[in-house]
């Protein structure tokens, strides 16, 4: 029961603020609503007893990525692109994508009805004392079973980082000359 309440609370906030994030005209307001969406998703992680993911979500998305977003919003002049020509088919494409997503969600919901334990109420998860410690289990899996994908991902991120540095340096040189 408590699990259901917590889930619907956070899910409701997430959906509501996601909708508000898309519809706000002021970019800063959109950013704030994106923060609340991300935080409530972190809350859902916590409801699922995934405390490591919960903290990672807060540190990486809210503490890192959103700070960078807001930083960029403050540095870039936002009234400039408003006067430029917009992408004409944006509305059509958005409608199509939304329709496709809706169909997808509907299909998943229909399929999920056949699973055991389906219903409006969330199944309460096992008590924390019976679950293995979250961060230890995660690191063990990550560094033993999934070591190769993990390393590939880190190399990819390193490549992106080096690429960003190279691009930033290149532009600076062009400015100076």
């Amino acid at each position: 029961m408590l699990d259901s309440i917590v889930f619907y609370f956070f899910a409701g906030i997430a959906v509501l603020s996601a909708a508000l994030m898309v519809t706000r005209r002021n970019v800063m307001h959109s950013a704030v609503f994106l923060v609340t969406t991300l935080l409530s998703i972190a809350g859902i992680f916590l409801q699922l007893r995934a405390e490591f993911l919960f903290v990672t979500q807060i540190i990486v998305y809210v503490g890192g990525i959103m700070v960078l977003f807001i930083f960029v919003i403050m540095l870039v002049r936002l009234d400039v692109p408003l006067h430029q020509m917009r992408f004409r088919f944006q509305r059509l494409v958005a409608l199509l994508v939304a329709f496709a997503l809706g169909v997808e969600v509907l299909v998943i919901l229909l399929l999920a009805r056949k699973l055991p334990g389906a219903g409006l109420f969330v199944q309460s998860t096992a008590p924390v004392s019976k679950l293995p410690p979250n961060s230890e289990e995660l690191s063990r899996t990550l560094f033993s079973n999934y070591l190769l994908p993990f390393e590939i991902a880190s190399v990819l991120l390193l490549v992106a980082m080096v690429g960003a540095v190279v691009m930033a340096k290149g532009r600076k040189r062009a400015d100076e000359s």
Binding site: N26, G63, V67, N134
Partner: protein
């Protein structure tokens, strides 16, 4: 008894420690912050050979209360073009983030809100970093150039120094092998050594990063008076400004508590495993009695009767708390409370020492220039932090795989890290000299 009352009673029975500690923290933090400001002003006065606040109460002891009342009844000004909603709740974010992160801390073996979260230390760091959202949003919503520049500076500072601070924490976490706050302190108790002695470089990097993260001098560029009026707080007044201030001081307490937990042995007393030093357990009582006696001595010297009366009251308060600490020794059924009381005393003593160091640095060092700050963060601290994590890992590897003595391994790797640090500083000096030469050459007013 109705089932509702029964449920409420059950809830209270299960969670009364959490509730009491939570209320105590929320109630105590504003008071502590106010008196921290008084201590800071007194300390600054002492270092500048003056007296500081003396008028309100004996030696200005009631100054924080007067300040709080003044802030509460002050006119609340909102700029006309400010973004109302964000302007209103930005200070609240700052405050709530700092207070929430305190929920996972252990202020002593028994004094805590959340019971041993699996990712405790990460939770504290992650949630307290949310406070920057308050600063950024407040600076943006004020619709003022000074505010927005202060907010941009604080964002840049946060991004640069949180990386270094996080990596410095990793060196202690590697030694502890867990994120649980209680377990981190217990590992230090079993090893009979605080992690500051095993990872000194990590501690000093965390010290620098934590000063930068709390926007304190010499890294207080987001609110540099001479350049930006008051930075992101320029347009704030009255109670909202007080909320920012509270958030800042609460954040200082959080940062100091994290440093204490990770590096300074948490609530352990010095030499907690040495038997013949166990008289140190009496030190809370001794300190409080000494403080009370000193207050009595000063009470006779007060010029006004009210003031000496107040001094008497402070002295009696000290004696009362000392008696509270003493009761478990006399009355043996209460013996179980002793580790909790002593632990809280040592923890708060270490936290105060850390904050004292913050203030001390503030009155000693001149403010950095912004490019110097960025240089220090990106060219020295972050590379050094990465090297430090590697070297602590290397020491643990040498100990576990090759059977080295732990101390030998750590001393060797620390010397290695310090060598890298010296090399980085040398490189930066060269670069700095070249840069300032370029500035002088291009400055038409210089010649």
């Amino acid at each position: 008894m109705s089932p509702t009352t029964q449920a409420v009673l059950q809830f209270l029975q299960a969670y009364w420690v959490e509730l009491v500690c939570g209320v105590v923290i929320v109630a105590a933090v504003p008071l502590v912050a106010g008196y921290a400001v008084l201590v800071e002003r007194k300390l600054m006065a002492d270092m500048q050979a003056r007296l500081g606040p003396m008028r309100v109460g004996p030696h200005g002891l009631l100054q924080p209360i007067a300040d709080a009342v003044k802030l509460l009844i002050k006119e609340d000004i909102i700029p006309r073009d400010a973004d109302m909603l964000i302007f209103w709740f930005a200070p609240v974010i700052s405050m709530v983030a700092a207070l929430t992160s305190m929920g996972a801390l252990y202020f002593g073996p028994a004094f805590r809100v959340a019971n041993d979260i699996n990712v405790g230390i990460l939770f504290v760091v992650g949630v307290s970093s949310l406070g920057f959202l308050g600063i950024i949003l407040g600076g943006w919503a004020s619709n003022s150039h000074y505010s927005i520049l202060g907010a941009v500076r604080s964002t840049a500072q946060l991004i640069s120094y949180e990386t270094a601070g996080g990596l410095a924490m990793v060196s202690a976490l590697l030694l502890a092998g867990t994120f649980k706050i209680r377990a981190i302190v217990e590992v230090q108790s079993q090893n009979q050594v605080w992690f500051i002695f095993l990872a000194p470089v990590g501690f000093f990097m965390y010290l620098v990063a934590s000063i930068a993260e709390t926007n304190r001098a010499p890294f207080d560029l987001p609110e540099a008076e001479s350049e930006l009026v008051a930075g992101y707080m320029t347009e704030y007044s009255g109670f909202r400004w007080a909320l920012y201030f509270l958030g800042e001081y609460a954040n200082m307490i959080v940062v100091a508590s994290v440093a204490t937990t990770l590096f300074l042995g948490g609530w352990l007393r010095p030499f907690s495993n040495v038997r013949w030093l166990s008289w140190l357990d009496f030190s809370p009582v001794l300190v409080l009695v000494a403080l009370g006696v000193y207050c009595l001595y000063r009470a006779g010297k007060q010029p006004v009767k009210v003031q000496s009366g107040f001094m008497w009251a402070v002295a009696l308060g000290c004696f009362a708390v000392a008696a509270l600490f003493l009761t478990p020794w006399i009355f043996s059924p209460l013996r179980f409370a002793l580790p909790g009381l002593n632990g809280a005393f040592w923890f708060l003593l270490k936290v105060s020492a850390y904050i004292y160091m913050f203030m001390w640095l503030r009155f000693t060092l001149p403010r950095y220039r912004f490019d110097q700050l960025m240089h220090l963060g990106w060219y020295i601290l972050i590379p050094l932090a990465i090297v430090n994590v590697f070297s602590v890992g290397l020491a643990l590897l040498l100990e576990m795989e090759f059977g080295w003595n732990r101390w030998l391994a750590l001393i060797v790797t620390t010397i290695l890290t310090l060598g890298v640090a010296a090399y980085l500083v040398h490189l930066n000096d060269k670069r700095g000299a070249a840069a300032s030469a370029a500035v002088v050459a291009s400055d038409s007013y210089a010649g």
